[in-house]
């Protein structure tokens, strides 16, 4: 999908949610997933997968009628299972509630109806099911971390600063819709930006860009979109 397609055809648009608003909604559920994932001690790749599953969901369904935090909770629960890092549903639910309400779970239990936890569990499993059907059970997510490190490591061990900066840029990029548009090219964009930022002359390594299997136009596009995140 191209960026224009995503921005113009998003189902949220029909419900009057403009592209800027949707960008912020995207940031907000990504921040939530990051927080939830860290508390559940999930690896960064699983957290990233959950974000991408959410992005995929919201290019198909509108923010107007699907609570993004419910979808995000279910997406992380699902991503953890899909990447063999399952977390007990009740732990996921408890942590998710505590983040959303900024309250301890025992305190929440005083405020809410008796069966609120069961109801919440039912909602999240419904959301999980909805993600699966909406994505047609396509849960595989290709991360650019591996191509990025494998290509950049060819520069030698002295370039750890460059590699780390590029990796951080990739993680930042998760907040955007880049993952819906490109596959490992995000790695190239991140490497390009990192090199530029550190005044590192990657162009002198002739085969570097070929290894990322990208074109100058894509490179330009990806790094432009990464820049917009800051």
């Amino acid at each position: 999908m191209s960026k224009d397609e995503i921005e113009l055809c998003s189902p949220s648009r029909r419900d009057g949610i403009d592209s800027l608003r949707e960008t912020h909604l995207r940031y907000s559920y990504c921040a939530f997933i990051q927080n939830l994932g860290l508390q559940l001690e999930l690896p960064q790749t699983t957290i990233g997968t959950a974000m991408v599953l959410c992005h995929r969901f919201f290019v198909r369904r509108s923010h107007a009628c699907h609570d993004r935090f419910l979808i995000a909770t279910a997406a992380l629960f699902l991503a953890a299972k899909s990447e063999e890092m399952p977390r007990p549903l009740n732990n996921v639910l408890r942590t998710s509630c505590e983040i959303l309400h900024k309250q301890d779970i025992t305190f929440l239990s005083y405020l809410l109806p008796v069966d609120w936890f069961e109801q919440y569990r039912e909602r999240v499993t419904e959301a999980e099911q909805m993600i699966l059907t909406t994505l047609n059970f396509e849960l595989n997510v290709e991360h650019p971390y591996d191509p990025l490190t494998s290509v950049l490591n060819k520069l030698g061990p002295s370039q750890t600063v460059l590699v780390n900066l590029a990796l951080n840029l990739v993680s930042e990029g998760l907040r955007s819709s880049l993952w819906l548009q490109f596959k490992p090219h995000i790695a190239a964009g991140a490497a390009y930006l990192a090199a530029k930022f550190l005044n590192f002359d990657l162009d002198s390594y002739h085969n570097m860009w070929r290894e990322f299997q990208t074109t100058p136009a894509i490179l330009q596009d990806v790094s432009q979109q990464l820049m917009e995140l800051f």
Partner: protein, 344 residues
């Protein structure tokens, strides 16, 4: 319009995206049933195509089952004429069905669990792997029992009957007394599988060694599972002497002994955690794999089960069992490849 409030999900939105409803199919008859759910023969209403429909139960405590996620992910990756194809995944209210092409049946691991043992462990999976190897050599199902007692009996006939000598602790397994064989039976697996000359000779003999070891009765007599990308010592090409029927069948050698017990190799959540570091000694057997050499073959009488008889849809006639497994490279079988075979 405002964005969705807390807890809002539009469950009634018309599904212009994503998977279809199971109503697109008409169920014809149930083919089999297991712990995983039921499999039906069904017809797609629009095209008339006959398919196998596998129903997956949702779990209220764990949501969509991780085993089903694994199965779908793996099936999506596999493209081979002998492996059932996942055509699509369809949904029904509160349940999910998965649909594959008919014509092939899946051996379904039952193993020690037949005797009422409730702990699922890597050793149970290794049993299944052994059965699949044996079936590849044999060219057909090796334990074609119609029901569980009959299946157990077939296992005892081929692999010998379990007793306290070859399987310490077996008499304490819940249903042992109900099902224990009335007469002593000797292990004759090697003889039964020894006449297969269809596969290349070295591969056959080597695999035979593998088969007898992984279908050993007790957990600690079976080979430990291997992780993807690794190969068992005797599966690698090299100067491994081929095993012959007359030879002591224990392929003893340093290659067997892994440096440390392989714990929950199948990944977290797959096997119940237990107090020991190995996870293989679920028969109250100390030690695990790395504690000593494999016992002599006569001791480790195998035990087990395999394919569901007649699980293929009526009339399809697909045997699915490629003799000699041409796609099975000799030097790098992994657990993933085994699944490949398991699903043929």
């Amino acid at each position: 319009m405002a964005i969705a409030g807390a807890g809002q999900l539009n469950l009634h939105e018309s599904p212009c995206w994503g998977s279809r409803s199971v109503d697109c199919f008409e169920k014809l008859e149930q083919i089999s049933e297991g712990t995983y759910g039921q499999v039906y023969m069904a017809r797609e209403i629009k095209t008339g195509e006959i398919v196998a429909l596998k129903k997956i139960r949702m779990d209220n405590e764990r949501g969509f089952p991780i085993t089903a996620i694994r199965e779908i992910k793996i099936l999506k990756k596999l493209h081979h004429e002998n492996v059932i194809k996942l055509k699509e995944s369809v949904t029904s209210q509160g349940a999910k069905d998965e649909q594959g092409r008919p014509g092939k049946c899946c051996p379904i691991p039952i193993n020690n669990l037949l005797l009422g043992a409730t702990k699922y462990s890597p050793a149970v999976d290794m049993w299944s792997v052994g059965c699949i190897f044996a079936e590849l050599l044999h060219g057909k199902l090796i334990f074609p029992g119609k029901d569980e007692p009959e299946q157990l009996n077939k296992i005892f006939e081929l692999c010998g009957a379990p007793d306290e000598v070859n399987w310490p602790g077996v008499s304490k397994i819940p249903w042992y007394n109900n099902f224990k064989p009335t007469r002593p039976m000797k292990r004759r697996l090697r003889e039964a599988l020894g006449n297969q000359e269809k596969a290349p000779a070295t591969a056959t003999t080597r695999r035979k060694g593998q088969t007898t070891e992984i279908t050993a009765f007790t957990a600690s007599c079976r080979l430990p599972p291997i992780q993807s990308g690794q190969a068992h010592a005797q599966m690698r090409p090299g100067p491994n002497p081929p095993l012959h029927g007359s030879q002591p069948p224990v392929a003893a050698g340093p290659g067997h002994h892994h440096g440390k017990p392989r714990g929950p190799a199948g990944g977290p959540g797959r096997y119940p955690a237990n107090g020991t570091n190995g996870g293989f000694n679920h028969q109250n057997h100390g030690g695990g794999y790395s504690s000593g050499p494999y016992p002599p073959q006569g001791r480790g009488a195998p035990y087990g089960s395999s394919g569901m008889p007649g699980a293929g849809p009526r009339g399809s006639g697909g045997s699915g069992y490629g003799v000699g497994a041409p796609n099975y490279s000799q030097d790098g079988p992994t657990e993933v490849l085994v699944l490949d075979v398991a699903l043929t």
